[in-house]
Amino acid sequence: MQETPPRKQSSEFTEAVQGRIAALRNSVAFQNYEQVRDHVLRMKDLEARRSETVLKPSAYWREELENFEYMLDAHPLIINKLRHHSHHVTGLRVYDYRSNKDSVRELLAEKLEVLVKMGGHDLLVPEPRDMGGFGFEIEGQLYNIDTLKFYEVLIAMQRSSVLPDLRKPADRKLVWEIGAGWGGFAYQFKTICSNVTYVIMDFPELFLFSGTYLKTMFPQARVEFFDHGSLGKLLGQWRDIDFLFVPNTFLDDFSPDQVDLAINMVSFQEMTSDQVRAYVERAHELQSPYLYSLNRDRSPYNHELLSVSKIIAERFLPRQIPVLPVSYPKMLNKLTKARGLRARLKKKKKKVTRPDYKHIVGCHRMTLNGRHIPGNTGETAPSLGLPPGRASE
């Protein structure tokens, strides 16, 4: 038997890897990443010249941002598997979706089945395999907790009659997502509502994920980054843009002539009350008819926040839309199958649980004599901002 010399094998491997890296360096995804990185660096320069605002990253976020500082000089192999690295943003890891986890896969499949019964296949967008997309394979497609979370959000929007208008091909609509993470929801949303301009407002560092991902997944789309000049000028031509990335510190300059929906998922709960209020008030000033939120009222460790739903209620009439009886990170665990007399007998002993992440659709509130009306708490007229004494006249 003839043995290959070990030295030659090693060199073949090295050559293969180097060849692969060179190919990846020339890939569209990596070129997109390099462009996005240039934009991000310019955005950081732009931010540095601005005075302090309430929207600077909190201590929690500063720590998070430091964890993926390496993304500022990422290797082509990292960009090739960008989704694997987005765990910094979303918390999902590829390890949890390996092929030997059949019991978890079954639970995810059960959850998907229940959701499909509610929302149909029309709104279902599976995880793409590009850029290291991962998940359990169910009926030939990849699904993970994020995929189902976004699907759940789309179902909530459909049920609350927010989505139908945005899906009409006639008028261009503007959707504003506050904190888009790795861009997963933007991808799903743009896939099912193609005639929208999707504005993402976030920490610039996060555009390394969302910007690169969306630019690669939608190669034909017009993608713009606000990193120089006037934001107003860029917003003047929003109808021709597919994705627009704006640093969060430019909230006050963000004034498009139309906003059709403002979205926040799982980041209001991490902010301070002032930060949440700044976004909610801006959405109200911009006459956004709806503000959608999927958040807990407050993260357990966040003591700087009053309550997300209460702050939303200051400017938008909140309606909570039920989709599943559990929060998005949890599985159904056969909850849905208990029926009949036997179930009723057992029900007494079972503690009723409610999801702590709430799908809230806020509808734009009126202003009364220039004053906003406080959220409803069953109070009577004096809470409406009427002059003292008038209520008893």
């Binding site: 007998l345 734009h364 009364l368 409406l384 209520a391």
Partner: protein, 319 residues
């Protein structure tokens, strides 16, 4: 005065705490060719102040207060009367609850349904029950309509068996059809009666999205409804079981008064009344059995189990 397409009557009675949100959700409707008439049934809380503060900023809203308490039936009828007096040409009419929330596109969707389907007399949406604090109760999304059913008899039977009158009554009605069937009759469960009767006039269409958030307080009971429907002075006929009084009233309307003509002849009216009596009786007793199953049966089973286990323990101890 130009007549709007839609008039909305808002019967008010002591819900000032939620009224501001309700009015806002109505005044911010995307369908704007409408007028809102709030009729106060002598509320003792701040309902008047709340409405007047909105009247000052939106001319489409008006406020009127009854000189004496009319009860729910009287007040609901008054809402329709005022709307017809002021805007006789308005094509559609709806009652809006003074403590519920409406989606901004609710009227737009419902008007679209009635505009696009001339055979429809009533359009309503799916709804979500919410608690006093706005928390959802259940999943919402109740489904029922008679869209596409051209047979009057089939429509009537479907409606009487499957209607959820308390929800459908807050839909958007074609004003003429509503007037023809006599609006709200002075009868127990008037909403059920109205929906059954108007089903003979045309189809019902439902929008499947959640466009209405219904705030629920307390549990339904006939005694409570009797009090709220008729106010302090309850007529003797309010105490006749509804499954007897309603078919009788339907027979009277269709056979004697001929309110269903020309679509429903007096002879057919007689048959509809008999049919209604049959369905109402079955439903009444079926509901009784269901209520027993739901509320009492589990308790009886638990007691029986306990009794037999005690017996078996005693027997074992004796032997």
């Amino acid at each position: 005065m130009n007549s709007p397409v839609v008039t909305v009557g808002i019967p008010l009675y002591n819900h000032a705490g939620w009224l501001a949100e309700t009015l806002e959700s109505l005044l911010t409707q995307t369908f704007s060719d409408c007028r809102f008439i709030a009729v106060d049934d002598c509320s003792t809380d701040d309902s008047r102040q709340v409405v007047e503060s909105y009247v000052a900023i939106d001319g489409r809203l008006s406020y009127e207060c009854n000189s004496r308490r009319l009860g729910m039936i009287g007040n609901w009828r008054r809402c329709f009367e005022v709307a017809r007096e002021r805007y006789p040409q308005a094509r559609y009419f709806a009652w809006a609850s003074d403590h519920d929330l409406y989606h901004p596109r609710a009227l737009e969707e419902l008007v679209g349904q009635l505009d696009n389907h001339p055979e429809a007399v009533l359009a309503y949406s799916s709804h979500l029950k919410i608690s006093e604090t706005g928390e959802p109760r259940g999943q919402g999304g109740w489904k029922f309509d008679t869209a596409g059913i051209t047979s009057r008899n089939k429509r009537f039977v479907e409606t009487t068996w499957r209607m959820s009158a308390g929800n459908m009554i807050y839909g958007l009605f074609r004003s003429d059809a509503l007037l023809k069937v006599g609006v709200f009759r002075k009868i127990l469960l008037p909403d059920r009666f109205l929906i059954a009767e108007i089903s003979l006039q045309g189809e019902f269409r439902q929008v499947r999205e959640l466009l209405w958030y219904r705030r629920h307080e307390g549990v339904f009971s006939l005694g409570r409804q009797r009090q709220s429907l008729f106010g302090l002075k309850q007529p003797w006929w309010a105490h006749i079981p509804w499954w007897i009084s309603q078919p009788k009233a339907l027979g009277w309307n269709l056979c004697v008064r001929g309110t269903g003509r020309p679509k429903v002849s007096r002879l057919y009216g007689f048959f509809y009344a008999i049919e209604y009596f049959f369905v109402s009786t079955v439903l009444h007793f079926a509901r009784g059995i269901r209520r027993f199953q739901k509320r009492h049966l589990p308790r009886y089973i638990e007691n029986a189990k306990e009794f037999f286990s005690r017996q078996s323990r005693n027997t074992a101890a004796g032997s």
